[in-house]
């Protein structure tokens, strides 16, 4: 029997089976041996099936994928590999929900673990790459760190699974398959042909390497970009912003899109030497002046009476948001955009702190200080930020600057980390934790000694004065991730103190104890994680890789 007749016989068998032997009698060759048609058909089909299976031939190989680029980083130490697998497995397990127990929440430790692993320059064991990419798929905040850690092999792998496509177009620098930013031809091609997200990533990367090249890339195609794209591209100029960008930004002030104009104006106002900053300084100066008529010198305010076309061109929106008066809105816009260096000269050589301390006439104080806060943040001015933050210990309504926690958190980002932590520590010591969440969020991790101490003390106070632990769950969560692991010892005192039910006036002693236990065990876990990643690996020659069962 030749192959082709065998194939056609099989096709006849299938047809007969599909339609039924009553309708379609099996082929003569099959029926020749006698017996009932269905049995004869099944006999022949069995013979064919086993024959086919026994004679299977290899398929021709498809084009093999280009191998992944070599990764020369050292492989993660073994204990850290196990830990990573555990953290990644915990990701899916902990999503089940339910009340938090005394056990650490592994999900929250992954970002920190990744940061440390990246600092140490390790590469992951390849079999964990799929779980890493899955984790990054579910949590966008993990993506930059996961992609940096996953390295070339991770990107290589992501090409094959549509669920991991985010890795290929992720906007964050390292590890993204952008062309070498020095390869002008490739950069040009991607800029002209790429998807929007790829182009944003490209522009950011080029800008990081050479701000001038980035600007050139953008100005080359600026006129043909869509308005919403222009806004995003313009935003990427924040990186490496300098006076060299001014001519381009000045032209963008005439853009068709209002949002583009506003962003260009905001960027220009962050350049104190720009023409726009100068125009704003002149306008703002004309609104503020010293008044010596009273007992003490004070700031007199004359808010603008109109928003003329020149002001509008410089990015001042003529119409305020609902509920705001026109004049106070325009004043705020002008002061926020004027260089802070304008003011000492305007106010008799006073320092920022002295200026902020001056009384403001006619109830303009709040408006004026809020505008200065925005200016200090925009211009990254630490001196003005300090002045506007005031002393952390006094009630915020009484102090200078702003009582808004969001504004204060932003101001804090402009002062050095150490100073920031000290300020927040004092704030917590004076006011407790109930308003500290946003401020803690801008502090460097792990928290400095004084800051950590202040948080732990305040938690103890909260328990002793009848607070409920769930009122502090936000701060507790932060503390688990941000406290220095060496604080674990201090916490054990607190867990011990709350062993019974009577130790908290709120009757929540048991809950407090559980919360402190989780905090302490999380800190110990973080310490272990850190050790696994940072202690020198054992001598491989002495230890032939024996693993326990």
């Amino acid at each position: 029997m030749t192959r082709s007749t065998s194939v056609s016989l099989w096709e006849e068998l299938v047809t007969s089976a599909l339609l039924g032997t009553d309708r379609r009698t099996p082929p003569r060759a099959v029926m020749a041996q006698g017996g009932e048609a269905p049995v004869a058909l099944l006999d022949a089909a069995a013979l064919h099936t086993v024959r086919r299976r026994a004679g299977l031939l290899p398929a021709p190989a498809a084009a093999r994928p280009e191998p992944a680029a070599r990764d020369d980083r050292p492989l993660l130490p073994e204990a850290a590999c196990d830990r990573l697998a555990q953290l990644l497995a915990g990701r899916s397990a902990s999503s089940a929900g339910g009340r938090r127990s005394a056990a650490p929440d592994l999900t929250e430790l992954l970002p920190q673990w990744l940061a440390t692993a990246n600092e140490q320059g390790y590469r992951p064991p390849p079999p964990l790459l799929p779980a890493l990419l899955d984790a990054a798929r579910a949590r966008t905040d993990l993506r930059p760190r996961v992609l940096a850690f996953a390295g070339a092999r991770g990107l290589w792998l992501a090409r094959f699974n549509p669920e991991w496509r985010f890795a290929l177009r992720s906007a964050s620098g390292q590890g993204v398959p952008l062309p070498e930013t020095t390869d002008a031809e490739a950069v040009r091609r991607l800029w002209e042909e790429g998807l929007f997200a790829e182009r944003v990533a490209l522009l950011t990367a080029v800008r990081e390497r050479d701000p001038g090249d980035g600007l050139a890339l953008l100005s080359g195609s600026w006129a043909t970009e869509r308005a919403e794209d222009r806004l995003m591209f313009l935003d990427s100029l924040r990186t490496g912003l300098s006076d060299a960008d001014e001519p381009f930004l000045e032209r963008a002030l005439a853009d068709r899109s209002r949002n583009v104009r506003a962003t260009a104006a905001e960027l220009l106002s962050a350049l104190p030497d720009s023409a726009l900053a100068g125009r704003m300084a002149a306008r703002a100066s004309s609104c503020l002046g010293m008044d010596h008529s009273g007992e003490r010198p004070a700031i007199a305010v004359e808010a603008p009476h109109e928003c003329d076309t020149a002001m509008q061109r410089d990015g001042v929106p003529p119409t305020p948001p609902t509920g705001r008066g026109n004049r106070s809105w325009w004043l705020g816009q002008l002061v926020a955009a004027a260089p802070l260096s304008t003011w000492p000269g305007r106010f008799g050589g006073r320092t920022a702190r002295e200026i902020v301390a001056l009384p403001v006439m006619d109830g303009w104080r709040e408006e004026l200080h809020a505008a200065w806060c925005r200016a200090a943040v925009r211009q990254r001015d630490a001196e003005w930020s300090r002045a506007l933050l005031g002393a952390p210990g006094i009630p915020s309504e009484a102090g200078p600057g702003t009582s808004s926690l969001a504004e204060r958190a932003k101001l804090l980002t402009t002062v050095p980390e150490r100073e920031r932590a000290d300020w927040v520590a004092e704030f917590i010591a004076a006011h407790g934790l109930s308003e500290a969440f946003q401020l803690l969020g801008v502090c460097a991790v792990p928290w400095s000694g004084p800051l950590g101490g202040a948080v732990v003390d305040a938690l103890g106070t909260a328990r002793d004065t009848g607070g409920y632990p769930w009122s502090f769950s936000g701060v507790m969560g932060l503390a688990e991730r941000c406290l220095d692991p060496s604080e674990a010892g201090r916490l054990t005192l607190l867990t011990g103190a709350a062993d019974g039910t009577g130790s908290s006036p709120s009757g929540a002693g048991g809950y407090w104890s559980e919360a402190f236990q989780r905090l302490a065990s999380t800190l110990r876990l973080r310490a272990a994680m850190h050790r696994e990643l940072t202690s020198p690996p054992p001598d491989k020659a002495a230890d032939p890789g024996v693993r326990g069962p």
Binding site: A17, D22, A37, L42, T49, R53, A59, A61
Partner: protein, 370 residues
């Protein structure tokens, strides 16, 4: 092309007029307690299942005879249903839905033929299961028919084949082969559940003998199977094969000392050798869906909607079985390879290869894929 000889032998021995159905065959289906074939009882300890439950070889023989009679009745009934199916056409099978198959499977459970029952359940899942389902259904119907016919003529079959048929129908063959001493490398361990019983399959490979064996272990009532071995480690022990089924299934004796790490993955071959091994194994057991193989120096290659394992040198490849494409293990395999050659242990059969464990070219550490 050797397997058809076995098929020829099976066909000539079958087709005898069956014994009349046993009276009990018509009663409503009921869940049967674990029987001698049953995993759970086998697992109670070495020899526990073999000895039988009540005293006396005569009683055991009578029980075996009664059971064989029931299975014969079941096989006869199944033959009739297959004939009806073929007479009416497989196209009907898609319309009639699951119910008919479920009922037939329940009848096979009644007949104490779990092997036939499992086959029928699988047949029930085939109609409408994607392109080409009529071909798959015809193939599986034909092999089920072959098994029915083989059982009905089992007395006239030569011994290793008869043992295979008994095992396939669902009668557990005793672990009565010649014991082998070796350092057994644990290649893979995977669990599957039918909702009541968890079946654990552990593949081991003898370092000196080169022999591959399958250790089955069962956990009833949601419990974990008793046997657990660390994948990628080796244990020194005696291993006793069961009779029939191509000699794969075995029982592992008490290991000597703790498991030790291995210094190299098992020896493997190219893709063509894996297919040859499967074809060869079909000689002894035409119902085999797959055969354990180790592929050395293969590269996972994406093509179309699927993947294949291609020889690093040469133009041969094996498709990865459709069922394995949706498992996370596939991505671990691809990640481990990074486009370079790896060693893969898996089950190779007519649906392709199911990768179970892989080793990178860099070290002896086993990466489980299931």
């Amino acid at each position: 092309m050797v397997a058809p000889n076995v098929v020829g032998m099976l066909r000539s021995s079958g087709g005898q007029p069956p014994e009349p159905a046993v009276p009990g065959a018509g009663r409503p289906s009921e869940p049967l307690p674990p029987t001698a074939s049953d995993p759970a009882s086998r697992d109670a300890g070495p020899g526990a299942g073999r000895a039988g439950r009540s005293a006396g070889p005569e009683a055991a023989a009578r029980r075996a005879e009664r059971r064989a009679g029931r299975i014969t009745a079941g096989a006869t009934e199944l033959e009739r249903r297959l004939s009806d199916l073929l007479r009416g056409g497989l196209a009907e099978a898609e319309r009639s839905g699951h119910g008919l198959w479920e009922e037939t499977a329940a009848r096979m459970v009644d007949a104490q033929a779990p092997g036939l029952a499992a086959r029928v359940r699988e047949l029930g899942a085939l109609p409408g299961s994607g392109p080409g389902w009529p071909v798959r259904l015809l193939e599986e119907c034909a092999l089920t028919h072959l098994l029915d016919a083989a059982w009905l003529g089992v007395d006239r079959l030569p011994e290793p084949l008869a043992a295979t048929v008994r095992a396939r129908v669902g009668l557990t063959a005793p672990a009565a082969g010649r014991p082998v001493h070796d350092h057994w490398l644990v290649l893979a361990q995977c669990d599957s559940s039918d909702g009541k019983i968890i079946t654990r399959r552990i593949w081991v490979y003898g370092r000196e003998s080169g022999r591959v064996a399958l250790l089955l272990s069962f956990g009833a009532g949601g419990g974990s199977p008793r046997l657990a071995l660390p994948v990628g480690m080796a244990v020194e022990a005696w291993l006793t094969p069961h009779l029939g089924g191509g000699g794969l299934r075995a029982e592992l004796g008490e290991p000597v000392g703790p498991p030790v790490p291995i210094d190299a993955p098992p020896r493997g071959g190219p893709v063509s050798a894996a297919l040859d091994a499967y074809g060869h194994a079909l000689r002894a057991d035409p119902w085999l869906d797959a055969w354990p193989v180790t592929l050395a120096e293969v590269i996972p290659v994406p093509y179309g909607g699927g993947w294949q394992l291609a020889d690093a040198h040469g133009g041969d490849a094996l498709p990865i079985a459709p069922a394995a494409l949706s498992r996370p293990g596939l991505w671990r395999l691809a990640a481990l390879s990074g486009g370079g050659p790896v060693t893969v242990f898996g089950e190779c059969g007519h649906r392709g290869v199911t990768p179970l464990t892989a080793w990178s070219a860099d070290g002896p550490e086993a990466v489980p894929l299931v």
